[in-house]
């Protein structure tokens, strides 16, 4: 069975062809980072405008790359939610209409299910049940996965997502959007122990997260050190400290350490609470090297294993949507012609397959 996957939930257009026998045949990603960088964050209207320009050309490209004709395709999977409604709408309209034109079923896919199944695109795949840590700019969730479609949220962020905290703190440090990965890079030259940030919500039981306070903690240090940062360029006072770059690196280090520690503490609790020894991490922040190392050590200690998708499938992509759609197509492929865009949609509402 050959599935075309369409992802357009935020600021990336992802298209892929997944074959249930042959695996991933082709995939393409167009990132709008350059469009949004000038604004310091994603502008939803601009995101929608870009999706409507890029989606069809990318579909043409993956079909050409994989040497696939339209008659070969058995179904279309499109991201139905959660995400930005206008952005979702473009992929959903194109996906559903294309399925109508080709007289094949379409399947609306849950974006976070796509992420948590992304490691299944690799050779070494995790077995059920597993704990999934979904960490991105929009989400921070710990999910117990008993089978595809059998999900229980164990904990989630009560305010900012981890990736959002990364990006916001990076902005405070004068790094361009999306600054999370650049903050991680800056942290490499940071000195351990100079600053100590809190590990929010680890002093009480439970698996929920809170990351907005860490941004405030970073802002407080920035203020007390007398560093002034405006917009994308740093504009320093005359009496600013000479070693401002080092201070920034030290702040980045302490911030990242706090986020990674906090996530690791919650993951340890989830493993201990459920007795499940397999951890899957996905979403943009799962590309973070420190997080991967920390969680690898944690799972080693628990004689378990951690799985994550290859780097390019950590962030939003069409491959994970095509894969998730392929799992659901036979039971949930629809021909009802309703274009389904669901900006808010809990993963727990998904039916089992």
């Amino acid at each position: 069975m050959l599935i075309l996957g369409i992802e357009s939930s935020c600021d990336e257009t992802g298209i892929a062809l997944f074959d249930t026998n042959k695996g991933l045949l082709a995939h393409e990603l167009y990132s709008q980072i350059d469009v949004h960088a000038d604004y310091g964050g994603v502008v939803p209207e601009l995101a929608s405008r870009d999706h409507v320009r890029k989606t069809i050309p990318l579909i043409k490209k993956v079909m050409a790359d994989a040497n696939i004709a339209k008659d070969d395709i058995d179904g279309i999977a499109y991201t139905s939610g959660p995400g930005l409604v206008g952005a979702l709408m473009v992929g959903a309209c194109i996906g559903r209409s294309l399925a109508f034109a080709w007289d094949i079923p379409a399947v609306p896919v849950h974006h976070m299910e796509g992420h948590l199944l992304a490691p299944m695109l690799e050779d070494d795949t995790p077995a059920f049940p597993f704990i999934a840590l979904l960490v991105s700019g929009g989400h921070t969730q710990l999910v117990e996965v008993k089978a595809i479609g059998d999900y229980q949220i164990l904990g989630e962020s009560i305010d900012d997502a981890a990736g959002e905290a990364f990006d916001k703190t990076a902005k405070l440090l004068g790094l361009d959007y999306p600054g999370g990965p650049m903050l991680a890079k800056l942290a490499e030259s940071g000195t351990p122990g100079v600053y100590k940030f809190p590990r929010p919500m680890t002093d009480r039981p439970g698996l929920d997260f809170s990351f907005s306070g860490l941004k405030t903690a970073a802002a407080n240090v920035i203020r007390s050190e007398g560093i002034i940062l405006a917009g994308s360029k740093s504009t320093q006072n005359e009496d600013a400290p000479e070693n401002v770059e080092q201070i920034k690196a030290d702040i980045a280090y302490a911030f990242q350490e706090a986020v990674v520690d906090t996530i690791a503490i919650k993951c340890r609790r989830a493993v201990e609470q459920t007795g499940i020894k397999t951890l899957v991490i996905a979403g943009g922040v799962s590309a973070n090297t420190e997080l991967r190392n920390k969680l690898a050590k944690l799972m080693e200690k628990h004689k378990g294993q951690v799985y994550y998708p290859r780097h390019e499938f950590c962030t939003d992509n069409g491959a994970m949507i095509a894969y998730a759609g392929a799992q659901r197509l036979q039971k949930y492929g629809d021909r009802d012609l309703l274009i389904k865009a669901r900006p808010r949609w809990s993963i727990e509402e998904l039916p089992a397959i």
Partner: protein
């Protein structure tokens, strides 16, 4: 020639079919429901005429101006259908669609079309009747209605169409001597003559070039300092 016309750019959602001279259409005012209605409308109008999508010669779409999301629903559905069935497309202005209706229903010679653009503005386009086709005179613009100057826009003796005239009725009718019609929203049926003309003139493009014309492009999102 067989042409399908689709529009979701305003509160109205409509489709129309030109089937070798026979015209059918579906029109419904259904704000916020276009994504639920548009494909079922298309399926119905095609099956009622016993036409399959790939028997069409092309698809015309309402390209805006209108609601950004609504315009994109019409455009992206058009893209999906046209790419899927290898059909050429033409975009038609939503202001022109209403002007065309005024020509057909009221024999209008000059038409001023205005769509309520929110944010205290209207989308405005002035048209004249050229051999039965609505032809744009100025550029389509987004403008605050109180900034319309008589010297810039010779609207007198025009026929007016669109929600802009309803929303700013007093302001506009006190400044301009126009004949207000009951044509408020674009209907895909009146896209057909303009679309046929465009197809006949070879002005069609392939699916990915079906694109919105937002008119309001100078948007007010704030850039970071220094950008």
């Amino acid at each position: 020639m067989k042409i399908l016309a689709v529009d979701a750019a305003t509160e109205a959602c409509s489709v129309a079919l030109y089937n070798d001279g026979e015209i059918s259409s579906i029109f419904e005012i259904c704000p916020q429901q276009h994504s639920q209605k548009l494909l079922p409308f298309i399926e119905k109008i095609l099956s009622d005429s016993g036409i399959k999508l790939d028997q069409l010669d092309g698809i015309a779409y309402g390209q805006g101006p209108g609601s950004f999301t609504g315009v994109r629903i019409g455009v992206s559905v058009t893209q999906g259908l046209a790419f899927g069935a290898d059909l050429p497309v033409v975009g038609v202005s939503n202001l022109a669609i209403m002007a065309q209706q005024a020509i057909e229903q009221h024999d209008a010679e000059s038409i001023v079309a205005a769509i309520d653009a929110r944010m205290s503005e209207i989308y405005l386009g002035c048209y004249k009747n050229v051999n039965g086709f609505a032809q744009l005179i100025n550029n389509e613009i987004a403008i605050k209605p109180e900034l319309l100057r008589k010297e810039d826009f010779d609207l007198n003796n025009s026929v007016s169409v669109g929600t802009g005239w309803t929303s700013y009725n007093q302001l506009l009718t006190s400044s301009f001597d126009v004949k207000v019609t009951d044509i408020e929203l674009p209907n895909a049926k009146y896209m057909l003559p303009l679309a046929l003309d465009a197809f006949n003139k070879g002005l069609s493009v392939t699916a990915e070039f079906a694109q919105p014309n937002y008119v309001r492009d100078e948007v007010s999102w704030k850039k970071l300092p220094g950008r």
